[in-house]
C-alpha cells in the first residue's frame, strides 16, 4: 500500500515537473522595454557611366547584342543616421544586397527606447554626391529618393514598438 502510494506520488511529481518545464515563464523583454524598429526595402539609384557605341564596335558584336548605348557602373550606397532626443544612436552606410550589391537595400534595425515622448530623427541619404537629376530609368525602377528624413516627436508606449517603414517615397510611422 505504502509502495503504491509512493509510486503515485512520484508519478504525480514527475507529471507536474513535466508540465512545469513545458510551461515555464521566462523573461523576454522585461516590463519597461520599448523599441524603435526600422524596416524597409529601398531600391538604390544606379550610378552609371554611359556612352554610345561606334558603328565599328556594334559590328563586332553578335546581332542580338548590338545595343547602341553601353552603361557600366553600380548602385549607390546610403547613409542611415538615427538620432533619439538629439543623441545619435546609429549611423551606418548601407549597400545593395547580393554579391554585386546591385539588389535592393534591406533595412532591419532595432534600437531600444525609453517609453514616453521621444524626438526621433531618421535620415536616409545617398552617400555618393550627384548633381544630375534623377534618371528616368531610376524612377521607373522605383529607386528610393536621394534623401529621406523623418523628424518627429513620438509618444512611445511601454512594451511597444515604434515601427518606421518606407512607402510612397516617404517614411511611414506605425505605432501599436
Amino acid at each position: 500500500m505504502i509502495r503504491r502510494l509512493a509510486l503515485g506520488l512520484v508519478v504525480a511529481l514527475v507529471a507536474w515537473l513535466l508540465a512545469a518545464s513545458s510551461g515555464a515563464t521566462v523573461t523576454w523583454h522585461g516590463d519597461e522595454a520599448a523599441l524603435l524598429r526600422l524596416s524597409w526595402v529601398a531600391r538604390p539609384e544606379r550610378i552609371e557611366e554611359c556612352r554610345s557605341r561606334t558603328d565599328a564596335e556594334l559590328a563586332e558584336q553578335p546581332a542580338h547584342m548590338r545595343q547602341a548605348r553601353e552603361c557600366r557602373g553600380g548602385s549607390a550606397s546610403y547613409r542611415l543616421a538615427v538620432t533619439i532626443d538629439g543623441e545619435p544612436i546609429a549611423e551606418d552606410v548601407l549597400e545593395g544586397g547580393g554579391l554585386r550589391k546591385d539588389r535592393a537595400i534591406f533595412v532591419l534595425q532595432e534600437h531600444p527606447l525609453q517609453p514616453g515622448a521621444r524626438r526621433v530623427q531618421i535620415r536616409f541619404s545617398r552617400v555618393e554626391p550627384s548633381d544630375r537629376p534623377v534618371d528616368s530609368a531610376d524612377v521607373r525602377r522605383g529607386a528610393v529618393p536621394r534623401s529621406l528624413v523623418l523628424d518627429t516627436v513620438v509618444q512611445v508606449p511601454a512594451a511597444g514598438v515604434v515601427l518606421v517603414s518606407f512607402g510612397d517615397s516617404a517614411f511611414i510611422l506605425k505605432l501599436p
Binding site: 513545458s22 521566462v26 522595454a33
Partner: protein, 522 residues
Amino acid sequence: MIARVERGVRRLLRLLDCAVHRLSDWRFNPLHQSGTIAAYLLLVLSVTGLYLIVFYRVGSPSESVQRIAADPWLGGWMRGVHRYATDVFLLAAVVHGFRVFGQARSWGPRARAWVTGVVLVGVGLACAWTGFVMAWDTFGQRLAIVGARLFDVLPVLSEPVARIFAGDRAMPSAFFFLNLFVHIGLPLLMGIGLWLHVSKVARPVLLPPRRLQWAVSAGLVILAVVIPAPLGPAADPLRLPAATVLNLSSAWWLPLAERSSPWLVWGAAAMLTLLAIAVPWLARRSRSETFAPSVVDPRLCTGCDQCTQDCPWGAITMVPRTDGRPTLVALVDPALCVSCGICAASCAPMGVGPEGRTGRHQLFRARTELLPQLREGTVDSRIVAVCCSQTDAMVRKHFGSVGARLHEVPCIGTLHTSVVELLLRQGASGVFIAGCPPRDCAAREGPKWTELRLFHDREAELQERVDRRRVHLTVAPAGLAGETLAEYANFRDAVRALEGPEVEDDVDIRLLCEPLEPEAGT
C-alpha cells in the same frame, strides 16, 4: 576518460533503476523501455498531429490554435497530449542515448544506430521548433525571431527573413504554410531515420509492452486534462511581451541564443552535434579479446542455421561450403558482429562464438575452475549461481555470502546449455541463473534465448536427461538484490528437498558433438 564517463552514466542510471524497481514492477521500468517509448510517442504524435492539422488554418494560425485549445471536448486535451508527448519523446530519446552510452553500446557495428539516433533527436528538436511556431503565440514568435536571426547570418538569401516579423506588413500565409510543410515533412524523415536506426538489428522491438503503452497514453491524457498545455497570447509584432512561456525540454537554449551572436550559436550547435556524433569513435575499443568478433569453425558447423536465427545483430549468414560437404556453413561478418556471444550458446556442436568464449571454452573453464570446487561440500555449497556480469554488483556480491559458487558470464545468453548439464552431472546440486531484465540486456536477447534453450527445447537445448528441478532462471534487476537472494533461498530449499545428484566421474560432452567427417566421395 570516456570509459570513466560511461561508468559514471552507468552508475547514475543504476541509481535511477534502483529507485524505479523499489516503487514499481521492474518489467515496466520506463528507463529500460526509453527507446521503445520514444518510438511509441512518435505514433502518438502522428495521431494527435493528424487530428490537430484538420483544424489548423495557415491563414489564421493563432486564432485556429486558440480555438483548438478552447475546445473542452477533444481539441484542448488532444493539443495537450501532442505537446506533452513531444517533451516525453525528447526526454525518452535522451535517456535511451545515455543508457546505450553507459552500457558501452555506442561504438563499432552500433555506430550507425548511434549516429542516426543523434540525428533523430536533432530532427525531433527542429520539429518541435516548427510546432511551437505554428501556434503563433508569443513563445512561437520568440522562436521564429531567433530562428530568422540565425538563418539571416548565412549567405543564403539577400533579404533578411527576420523582416517577415517586423510588422510593416501582415504575416504572409506562405510562411505558415512553409512552416507547416516542414512540420509534417520532418516526421516523415524521422520515419526513415528510425528505419535506419534499427536496420542493423534483427527483430527490432519498436513498441513497449502493451501495459506500458496504456500507462503512457493515459498519463499524457490525464496530464493534458488536469494541466492544459500552455498557450501564450497571440503574437503581435508591435508589442514586446515582458515574458513568455518557455518549453524547457526543447527550447532550453533559447534565452542563451538570444543573448549570443548568431555565429556563436551556430558554432556551439555544430560543436555539440559533432561531439555527439563522434561518440562511437571516442568510445571504441580494440576488437580483440573482450570485443573480438565471433568466428566459425567450419569443421564443426553442421549448417543447422540456428546461429543465424539467434544472432541479435543479423551478423551471421549461411554460405555454400568449400570443403565438399553437402550443407551450408555459417559465416560471421565481423563488421556487423558486436561480440555479444549469443551465437556461442546457440550452436550444439559449439563451433561458433568469440575467441575464448565458445561453448568449448566455456566447458573448459567450468571443468578447470568450477568442478574442482564442487567435488566436496554440502548440497548448499554445490549450487552454482551463474550471473551476468552486467547485473547489479550487489547481487553478485551477496551470492558469495550465501554460500553459492558464483560463476560470472558476460551475458546469460552466452551460457551454453552443455555447461549446465556438465555441472549438474559432475557435482553441482543446482544451477541458479540470474540475468538482466530482458529489455535491459546489453546483448538484446540473452534472457529470451536462455529461457527457450533451458525450458522450451530451442537449440542448443538443455538435454532431456537433465533434471529441470535443479535449474532455475531468474532476473536480477538493479536494487532488488534482496528479492533475487530470496528467490535463490527458495531454490536452495527446493534443491535440498531433492535426493542428492548422482555424480558422474567421466563425462565428456564434447564427444557428443564431434565434427562430422566429410562423406566419402564428396
